[in-house]
């Protein structure tokens, strides 16, 4: 009974930690997305850029709260926020699916291993990249129909983005996002060792 209570305490602590760090992820993603993300070329490569702060935050979050379901919760929260950013909610659903795949990989490889954390985060970011790029590549008509009523400036920027997108570019973005997710995870681990473990935070 006592161990069950302790276990429940620990779960609540982990859930609150996950909530705090997800709020941080959402804020930073929004901040970068609505500033530098307004330039069409940068907007296309946004998942690659966002993987940098995302990896650092995720590594600390996984060190502090290695709860079963951490990737699913993170995917659900970010997916909920970005649900209506693309036609038919593709963006939100893709992030959630990325989170689910990340959780499966994280559990399958071994939750204690660093490679499992990297793979999980790579899947999560891959979900983000596919969610952003897939509609721009394969749902161009739906996008143009959706934005046609929203002023010529928006349509002009969107058309510039759509002109850049094709299946090969989608593959390149996904590959670069996965590479950047791995690099930023390594960076996050280095920061954990040099700063957080030394300070006794983890």
């Amino acid at each position: 009974m006592a161990s069950l209570k302790t276990n429940n305490n620990q779960t609540v602590r982990h859930l609150i930690t996950i909530g705090i760090f997800n709020a941080l992820i959402i804020s930073i993603f929004m901040l970068l997305g609505f500033t530098i993300g307004l330039i069409p070329v940068i907007l296309i490569f946004m998942p690659v850029i966002l993987a940098i702060p995302g990896g650092i935050i995720f590594m600390l979050m996984l060190a502090k709260a290695p709860l079963r379901g951490v990737f699913v919760i993170s995917g659900a929260l970010l997916g909920l926020v970005l649900f209506n950013m693309a036609p038919a909610g593709v963006f939100g659903l893709s992030i959630f699916v990325g989170g689910v795949l990340g959780e499966i990989a994280f559990g399958f490889i071994g939750r204690e291993k660093f490679i499992a954390k990297v793979t999980g985060f790579a899947f999560y970011m891959l979900g983000f990249a596919v969610g952003e790029s897939f509609p721009l590549t394969f749902m161009k008509e739906a996008y143009i129909a959706q934005e046609a009523t929203k002023g010529t400036e928006q349509l002009a920027i969107l058309q510039q983005c759509l002109a850049l997108m094709n299946p090969a570019m989608l593959a390149v973005i996904c590959l670069l996002t996965v590479i950047m997710a791995c690099v930023s995870s390594l960076w996050g681990r280095r920061l954990l060792r040099t700063h957080f473990e030394k300070a006794g935070i983890v």
Binding site: N8, N9, I16, T17, I20, A23, L31, T35, L77
Partner: protein
């Protein structure tokens, strides 16, 4: 001295504001012309006034007016790259403002306890309720945390601006992220302790002395929002409506 404390849940119910947030999100996604966005903004300003959030309404109206002036100014003076990026930002703000207003209403008119109870009554799993409630409360604090860190970086002679990020990306990101993560980590520990003291880890279902219930009045509010949304969607797809210009 003889005043009795009246334990009553805030009205309308949190679910009404959640429904409004969902409806507004869908409408800003489906209907995005300036006129339609203005109608959404006006409707939310009316709801805010009804909820006695006058200071917030004045702030939003002033901000919206400034955006309209800037938009007109951009139409008059056309500098291709600047006009395109600033114009895009202005249009994005027009589109996001109704969603942000709906979120502010939810935030100001719903206490965190009532929100958690409402979500539990909707059978949302606890594993999602707790992080969602934390995000809902903490996301506005992040802005202040970032500003504090920017100030402390300036005092230490570091450049936390975009220029600094381009000139020294690794240093800037590290110097910016580490304090932010340390502060967040400490906050998570404190918040966990506070939540456990309040019995958030209890096995049995939460009880409420204020009686959080979805009543007939709340249903009427939801129906009004749904009808208004359906009307706006109908007008959006009605050919005559598209010819109207602000």
């Amino acid at each position: 001295m003889n005043d009795t404390i009246d334990f009553k849940a805030s009205k309308p119910d949190p679910r009404v504001w959640m429904f409004l947030l969902v409806v507004i999100s869908l409408l800003t996604f489906l209907c995005g012309s300036l006129l339609e966005l203005f109608i959404l903004f006006a409707a939310l300003a009316v709801i805010m006034t009804w909820q006695k959030m006058l200071a917030t309404v004045i702030y939003f109206v002033a901000f919206y007016t400034a955006l309209l002036v800037l938009n007109e100014f951009l139409c008059l003076i056309s500098i291709p790259p600047v006009s395109m990026v600033v114009g895009m930002l202005v249009l994005l703000l027009f589109r996001l403002m109704p969603v942000y207003m709906a979120y502010i209403i939810l935030l100001e008119k719903t206490s965190i306890n009532e929100l958690i109870i409402a979500l539990e009554q909707m059978h949302v799993p606890k594993i999602l309720i707790i992080p969602l409630a934390v995000v809902y409360r903490y996301i506005l604090t992040v802005k202040y945390e970032i500003l504090y860190i920017k100030d402390s970086l300036k005092m230490r002679g570091l450049n936390p601006s975009l220029t600094g990020m381009f000139l020294q990306p690794v240093t800037t990101v590290e110097k910016f992220m580490i304090p932010l993560l340390i502060r967040s980590g400490k906050l998570a520990d404190e918040l966990s302790a506070a939540a456990l003291c309040k019995g958030l880890d209890a096995e049995h279902p939460r009880t409420s002395c204020t009686g959080v219930r979805f009543e007939q009045k709340d249903a009427v509010c939801c129906v009004i929002f749904a009808v208004a949304a359906a009307t706006l969607i109908f007008l959006h797809y009605y050919p005559g409506f598209g010819n109207l210009v602000l």
